[in-house]
Amino acid sequence: MKVYIRSAGNISPQHSLDKELFLGHRIAQGGSRMTALEPDYTHFVDAKMIRRMSRIVKMGVAAAMECLRAGGIQMPEAIITGTAYGCLEDTGIFLRRMIDNKEELLSPTAFIQSTHNTVGAQIALLLKCHGYNNTIVHRGFSFENALMDARLLLQEGADNILTGAVDEITADSHAILSRFGIYKKEMHGPGIPEDQKKGTVAGEGASFFLLTHQAQGALAEIRHLETIYKPKHFGDVENRIQQLLLESSLTIDDVDLVITGHNGDPAHDEIDIYLSDTIFRNKTTFPFKQLSGEYPTASGFALWLTSGLIGGQKAPEWFPAIPLPLKHILICNHDLNAHHALYLISAC
């Protein structure tokens, strides 16, 4: 059974809610952290509701509403959300108050909003959607496993499955993850790959997609999606790419563009370098994390970018030269070389 992307909505460190702005201007943010550009949320949700929502919930809800608007669908049949870290801001607020106040005189608001399913639940609440609702919280596979769940639902007969990925950076999470040496001390210039200093750049964002059986009017087809957990050898990833192309009766020559998860940290980029020397030799590649930053559900951004390229058949002005019309794009992402995801996205 085929899985198509009817529409997409995205919030990221780029102008992803405004197609013309996005195509014309790429945003480079200095420092070791790329912050999502937040829209005027009153365009998506009632102002009274917004005041009660945390930042990650607002980003998730706005991306979901934009996706539904673009797809012309008022009520999805299911809502599936992937998030690795969940609602960090409210978790941090409740945790800090609990310690500061010595477990006394606490208010429930932050606790209520700290549960990992808050984004999916708030979307259901706004839409009054009683359908299937699930939240997957598996690190670098959170979004991929959400997509797999959506694919099963489509095969079981449902349609218009709203599926997304959302994660936020908070001051605490950035401070803690920085101590692990994950991020660069400072960024020079816009492109991640040109900078060979240790560490990557933190990112955040929300992406939602309407998945459907119907090819008509769809942006793109998710032809293949595969995850690899902690591969023993780089060659394992290469073999799986060959295998999925074979299963789709394609060769690497049919792939017009490769979107890679290359994040600029020499400690994690060896796999990307290996693939660019082997199967992706002579291929045009684009490391998407220079636009989104690195986070475990960043592949949501990659899928948004890819479905936009294939659906619009137009590359941004700042993009590398690619052949039009685009037929097949491969997304080859990994999160710290533990969670690898391969997507083959094709024109409808």
Binding site: L95, F111, I112, T115, A121, Q155
Partner: protein, 399 residues
């Protein structure tokens, strides 16, 4: 797509027992697991009863072979999942197309709490080892890596319905031919974060909880883990044992009413139960026992009861909340109660709803109050409902 999915093994740890046999013993003796908080360092000690497992992390580590510095949720998860895998007679889960789909609600929060005490004083202090497993998914990976399961791993977190969703995700993947074996369930340890969180909501009973009683006063928190080994028919035939039962039906619906409260009509609960019956091809009259979500809060029990009335009136199956034994184990509850449901079918038993005295004035039905044996238990409905309106129901059927 409707191929049978068999339960080949199970494992559980809760305040009433460290394995399935001990839990069954406590259930038949009508012995609850609540008591004083002893192991978790919290200022709520002595104020709120909890269903705590009286095994230290050191003891859990030596029972599982994991390091004592591992988050408690992962230790509990490894203990129960290990029992389930052994019970199924599968020593080589890593050689098959095996999935590990596990649920939890706060990951390694027990360690994060310790880290934050130092981190808040000085952002450069706090042991990084204590936050490395903060994510829910990290808990699942510790356990998956421990058992060598790598073909498919995933973590579900839909509050108190988390592990019910993990259980039926595994069943669906087997039916779709994506897995042969799925180790499914969930775990959650008591943490100060959740204990204080639920306390702020003013839904914790200062005495032992009384689910479905007119004078119920809230829930008691508990901790634990429960796992099932689900297998396809082909794998079941290769095993030298009989299955406990099948996972015959399941459904997930959303109440879409409020972030933490259930709708008065129990819309989400009703839809979950009704759709689960439809997916199993059963009628309400076929159900012999309902393992209730039955937290003991005013709101849950009226919503769940209203939905049951709408679906089952006037003939009600036997029903009870085993949370009156184990407390509410949050992300573990659907897994633990799935284990109890499978055992009810295998042994022909029905568990009592402890401390029930006064029927709710809204309903004509009452829960079972004594342990019943030698019963015909063919079909069991297990409910798990959570924050965010997430409602899931599972149906287990005799083979």
């Amino acid at each position: 797509m409707n191929a049978p999915v068999f339960i080949a093994g199970l494992g559980v740890v809760s305040a009433i027992g460290h394995n399935a046999q001990d839990c069954l013993g406590a259930l038949s003796m009508e012995k609850a697991g609540m008591g004083e908080l002893e192991l978790l360092r919290s200022l709520q000690q002595g104020k709120l009863p909890v269903a705590e497992i009286k095994l230290s992390n050191q003891q859990l580590a030596s029972m599982t072979g994991l390091s004592p510095g591992t988050p408690r949720t992962a230790l509990l998860s490894a203990l129960a999942a290990g029992e389930a895998i052994k019970d199924a007679g599968m020593e080589n889960v890593q050689n098959s197309r095996t999935g590990f789909i596990s649920a939890n609600t706060v990951g390694g929060m027990d360690k994060t709490e310790e880290f934050f005490e130092s981190f808040m004083k000085d952002p450069a202090s706090g042991k990084l080892h204590d936050v490395v497993h903060h994510e829910c998914g990290a808990i699942t990976e510790i356990v998956a890596d421990h058992f060598g399961i790598h073909h498919f791993i995933s973590t579900v977190s839909t509050a108190c319905s988390s592990s019910a969703n993990a259980v039926f995700t595994g069943a669906r993947m087997i039916r779709h031919g994506l897995l042969d074996i799925a180790v499914v369930g969930g775990a959650d340890a008591l943490t100060r974060f959740t204990l204080n969180g639920f306390n702020t909501l003013m839904i914790l009973d200062k005495k032992y909880c009384k689910p479905f009683d007119e004078h119920r006063n809230g829930l008691n928190l508990g901790e634990g883990a429960g796992y099932l080994v689900l297998v396809s028919e082909k794998i079941m035939k290769q095993l030298n044992k009989s299955a406990y039962c099948t996972l015959a039906g399941y459904s997930n619906a959303n109440d879409a009413y409020h972030q933490t409260a259930s709708s008065p009509e129990g819309t989400g609960s009703y839809l979950a139960m009704k759709q689960a019956l439809a997916s199993a091809g059963l009628k309400p009259g076929d159900i012999d026992y309902i393992n209730l979500h039955g937290t003991g809060t005013s709101n849950n029990d009226i919503a769940e009861g209203t939905a049951i009335k709408l679906l089952f009136d006037p003939v009600y199956p036997k029903m009870s909340s085993t949370k009156s034994f184990t407390g509410h184990t949050l992300g573990a509850s659907g897994g633990i109660e799935a284990v109890f449901s499978a055992l009810a079918i295998r042994d022909g038993i029905i568990y009592p709803n402890l401390r029930f005295e006064t029927p709710m004035k809204e309903f004509s039905f009452t829960p079972v109050v004594r342990f019943l044996k030698d019963r015909r238990v063919r079909h069991v409905l297990s409910n798990s409902f959570g924050f965010g309106g997430n409602c899931s129901s599972l149906i287990f059927s005799a083979c």
